[in-house]
Structures are given as C-alpha cells and as structure tokens.
Subunit: 423 residues, 2 copies
Amino acid sequence: MDVIVGGGVVGLSLAWRTARAGLAVTVVDPAPGSGASHAAAGMLAPVSEVAYTEGPLLRLGVASLSRWPAFAAELAAESGLELDLRADGTLDVAFGADDLAVLDELATYMEKLDLPVERLTGRQCRRLEPMLAPSVRGGLLAPGDAWVDPRRVTAALLAALERLGVPVVRARVRELLRSGGRVAGVRLEDGGRLPADRVVVAAGVSSAELAGVPVRPVKGQIMRLRSPRPLLSRCVRGTVHGTPVYLVPRGDGELVVGATQEELGFDTRVTAGGLYELLRDARELVPGVTELELSDVVAGLRPGTPDNLPLIGPTGTPGLTLATGHFRAGVLLAPLTADLLMAEHVGDDGGPVEGAGPEERAGPMGVGGPGDGGGPGDFRSPGDGGGPRNDRGPHKGLRDGGRRTELRELAVLCSPERFREIS
Amino acid sequence: MDVIVGGGVVGLSLAWRTARAGLAVTVVDPAPGSGASHAAAGMLAPVSEVAYTEGPLLRLGVASLSRWPAFAAELAAESGLELDLRADGTLDVAFGADDLAVLDELATYMEKLDLPVERLTGRQCRRLEPMLAPSVRGGLLAPGDAWVDPRRVTAALLAALERLGVPVVRARVRELLRSGGRVAGVRLEDGGRLPADRVVVAAGVSSAELAGVPVRPVKGQIMRLRSPRPLLSRCVRGTVHGTPVYLVPRGDGELVVGATQEELGFDTRVTAGGLYELLRDARELVPGVTELELSDVVAGLRPGTPDNLPLIGPTGTPGLTLATGHFRAGVLLAPLTADLLMAEHVGDDGGPVEGAGPEERAGPMGVGGPGDGGGPGDFRSPGDGGGPRNDRGPHKGLRDGGRRTELRELAVLCSPERFREIS
C-alpha cells in the first residue's frame, strides 16, 4: 500500500497512475486541490520559460509537455470532465531594445535545441493578438507551448480517483511513522495511523517540515479577471518594470494574470502591493484588461529548491519517496513526475493504458502516442534535424529513442539523492 | 403610516427618528444596508470636501456634521452597538506647486467662512502622519472633520429599529400606488400592497425609476485593506494623477481607500482598472499600504443629481416625499435629512430626545447639545468672529441662532420643488 501525502496536481496524478496500474494507494490531504495547484495559472510552457531557467529543467519540461495531451485525454475520458487544455502557443513580447535582445538570445538558444520558435515583429505580434499594447516592439512565439486549467485538473483527478475507489483522506499528516530505519506510514493530526509500504511526500511547501526536504515557500499572487469575450487567443508574456508577467486566457473568457514571486515564508496574504504590480504590468501588456471584472485573487506557495529542480524519486531512507520541489512547474511536470515514479516503482514506462486508444490519447499537440517517447541525450533528433524549424509541430526532437532510457536519464536530473541530508 | 422605500443609511435614519417620535413607519428594502451605504467610506468631511463642491452643499454638510455626535451617541446607546465615530480631522495633502496653490485657495475660502483649518508644511504633515510619502510638500488640516463606519451605522440602525418594533420588509417595491392624484402606498414585487399616508422614497439610484426623480448612478469602487496596526491616525486625502483619493483608517486597523467616480449606468462590477487606480494613488500618498492585506473591494452606485444637491422634502404630488440624491454625502447628510423631514412632517426640530441626556448626546466633537443649532445665513457667528480661528472647536459658527430657522433655510436648498418634473 502506497500513501501519498499531498493532494495537489502532483500527488493526485501519481495516485491516479498508481491506481490505474492496479496498486493500492491512499491520498492524505486536509483540503485536496487547494494549495499551490489552486493558485497556479497552468502554463505548460517549458520553451518560453527557458529564459528564466536552465537546461535540465527545460529537458524535464519538454518531456512532460509531450505527455500532457495523452494525460489530459485519458483523464477527461475517465473523469467525464473537461480540462480546458489548449495548445496555441505562448507569445513572449518585448517593449524595448534590451527586451528584444533577450528574446533574440533566447530564440538562438531554442533554435540550437531544435525547439520550435518564431521571431515576430511588433506588427506581427499585434496581428496574432490585436489587444496587445501599441508599444510592443517584437516577440517570440513558442507555438508548441500549451496551458490547462489546474482547478479543472485537480477536480478531474479527484473524480477519477473516486471512480477507481481510491481513498482520499481529508486530514493533515502530523509526522512520518518510522520503524527499523525505514518509513512505515504516517500519523495523522488526530493521532490515527496509516501504515504504508511506501510513503510518497508530495506535500509542496509542507514537505520541508514533514520530510526534512530542502524546499522553501515562494509566494505567488495571482489574479483572475472575467471577460465577456476572450481578449487573447494564446498565452502572452512580457517583462514589465523588470518583472515577468503572463496572461493566460481560458475558454470561458477568464483571463489569469500572474504572478508575483516573493520570499516571505509561509505568508499567503493577498497584498495591495502584489495586486498593484499585477494590474500595472497586465495593463502595460494589454491595456484592455482595465475594463475586465475582477473575479478572484489568491496567493499560493510554490515549493522552491536550491537548484530550482524538483525532488522526484526514492530517498536514502527506505520507504520514503519524494515528489515535491516543483517550484513554478508543478502542473507542467505532473505527468512526467507520475511516469518517473511509476517507472521506478513497478517498471511501468508510462506507455498506453488499457481503455484509451491512440486516437483518444493524441491531444491537440499531436504528440503523446505510444511511439512518442523522448530522445535520450539532447533535444534534437536525427529525423528532424533537416526539416523546417518552425513547423508548429512541437518538440519533435523527442520523438525517437526509448522511453525507458529517457526516463532513466530524467530521473537522475531530479533525484533527491543530490541532497544528502534528506530524510 | 409612513412607508420609507430604501434601507440605506438615509432611509433607516429617518425611520429611526420617525419611530422615536411615536409615529408608525415601515421600511421596505430587499437587502437593507447593502447598497451605496455598504460601499461608502463614511467620511464626515464637509470642510475638506468644499474644494469639490459648492456653498449650499457645504452648508448642508456643516449642519449635518454638527448633528453627528449626538446622533451617534443616541444610536449607540439604543442599539448597543459601537459606530466607530472618530473626529480627528482630515489632512489634505499636496505634492506639487499646483496642488499647493489649490489648497491655499481652499484655506482662504474656509477662513472667510470661519471654518477651522490649518495650513501645514510637508514636514508638519509627516509629523502628524509619519507614513505619508516623502514627496508630500504641504497640506491642509480640517481638524473638525470626522468619519464613521457606515456598515456599523446601518447595522446599529437596523438593531434600533428592531428594538422599537419597526417592520423592515425585505422586498423590492415595484411601483408607487396612486389614488386620486396622490401617492397612497407602494406595490411590492410579489404584488402585495402597502398602503401609506406618506411614502418617502429614499431608494438612492433606484429612486429615478420609482419616482421619476432626476438622479443618475455614479459608480464608486472602494477597497478595504487590513493592517495589523493603524497606518494613519486621521483621514488623509490627496490628488494623484488628477484624481482625488482618500484613505480612512478604522479603529480595528482597517484602511478604506476610495473611490472612483464613473458614469457607466447601472454597473457594479469591480474592474481591474478601478482597482488599479485606487492602488496606484494610495501608494503615492502612503507607500506603506503596499504591505497591507486586501480584505474587500466593492462597487456602489451613488445617486447624483443635476446640481449635486440632494432631494429632500415633499414633492408636488401629495403623499410623496423624497430623501434621495445625496450623491457622495449620504452618510454625512443622514442626520440632517432626518431632521429636515421630521421638521417638515411633525414640526420636530431634532432637539433632545427623551432618554438621552445632554452628556450622552455630546460627542467627541463637543457639539450637538440642545443649544447647538446652526446660525441662519452664513457660517460666521458674532461670538466667534474675534476669537482664534484654529481653535480645533469645529464649526462654532453654527452655535447660535434658532434650529428651526436654520432648518427652514436648509430645507429650501434641497427642496425637490426645484425640479418641476418630479413625481
């Protein structure tokens, strides 16, 4: 029996995969889906995020993005709920010469990796997104980037778990139960015990206290606006006053504006200053947001790690596995995280699942079929090297090679073993 | 039997005074206290508002402010609820030479009227309010201005009415009942009828449709921030980017920031643009607001009239009386409105009420006792002319003369008869 501590998008995804493999699993969370996943915007944008991160995280992101279409299709089929997954790309815009230079560097880097990207003039940007500010001077389109509604994802995962009969215990975990040098379960706040063969800590920022994990809370304030009709047709990002801001449009006209990054400990207050910055920067990108109705503001705590990479896999302590430290990429990395842990646990390589044919599993990005495992060592693939770069077929560099080899390599990148003090 | 349509601060105040006079009265409102009174900041600031208004409104405001201490003390005693009335003045600040010139003009005007005012340097402003922005170059203190929590006021009025057994019908009024050229009651949305000898329409912006009154909705968005300790000790106002903004501190650490003025019809959406302006301007005045938690944002509709003066008194139609069109001054003018209508109706001049002695009725501003009626024709009084001007005893100019004479003169200023088309 596995016990998964944490009912965010990561913990629930793993629970779902575990149950689908026929294994016994229980999720424990006082309020599933209400933490960082609730605050998240749901950008599945490893490519446009590359500027702010590093190679290994980009590899993880690209590998997980390629899994999203199948993951979403299966989950929608099993839960009966729509996830609002969209794959119309991300447009990164620049206002001044400095911003343009940064985007140009980024484009060159992505081209080197054979990741799809298009350089656009200001006019081309506005042709794609007419509501953009007139001061936008250029942009970069990452046509393969996608996004999803994280609140729908956790709702769908909970529905799917219910159908599979997976217990979701609404309680806080007080501590890990230890026995003979191994972790043997958890003790709940009311004193109750849940024994387990394996405890997976997927508790976001709470993982630190629970399992001695080096994660710290990075506060993010995020705002939702309501629009009678969609203002944008894809995700738009930009750097305003030195801070990155993004706007994510939902199918129902909602526009998500995020997000602050604040190192303030366990503080989830929505502040005047945080909201001010979001509003100011969103107005600079898309002046028309001014007319939209405010529908929601929340603050969440992202679990940041010292090297910005997640902690996924077994620790030095038998019985204790981690799936935390996803920082800003929890939604993006959830399918990959589940695959990594299933591969490690039972040798399941995340291939096709019974009951969902290839058609159902191919999503809007045209990837995710059984043969779509990623390439081993880099982002290029021999078959794609000579083709057109900006063909809107995203991340083709990952289409060859064995899924198992890829998973083994990715597992090394985010193995908790890199931090010796854990357990 | 009176029927008062509208359970905002104006309608409820009148109902309370009517019931106290031993007369039968019923209030009708689908949701008492939830309209403009709920959104209002509760500034009782006729003096600092003078810049944006005109002489007649200033007279009304000063006359009503002098009534507030007694009104609040009686209401608190009868309801058992605290109103958070404070009278520490309003500080109007200036950032540039233009603002300073405007404040100087204003000061001269107020001095001419013998209204208390103090000119301050930037340093003196910051000595009074250390959280003010360093860029504040000067200010004007109106030491007699006060403020109150309008939500507490409507709650207290409802409690007092309940104790007095006054029915508050939670329903919408569909139309006025007319019979033989007079108004004879109201018909409710469910078809039920409430007959009345006199119908008082105190329905704010809904008065237009109900009684053909020339009021229009002027939208105001207003924000409440939560602070562990009070950031300010008095109301602070300023003009930022050409828009006036004010900050009103409550006893519990809440800071109210208001307010937009938008002519958009019956629109009560909280918008990104409105909130942005409030946050931006509040930051300019008091940079420390950045750290405060957002606790509430609402939008209300103020009932504006063509000449910015309220409509208080009988109309050309027998049986129909108005108490509406208070625009931005509904809370300030509520006690005076009740006095004007009681004087008109039963000759009650708003003097002492049984059961509340002068001690109880004297509030923090030191006015409001039985002899404190206002002067007749101007703001000066013979006894005060030679004394020090900035003696912090507010509005002494109104301390002599008969209350009845004053009320008659004030009644003319806001009589609905000035708009012939009404009824």
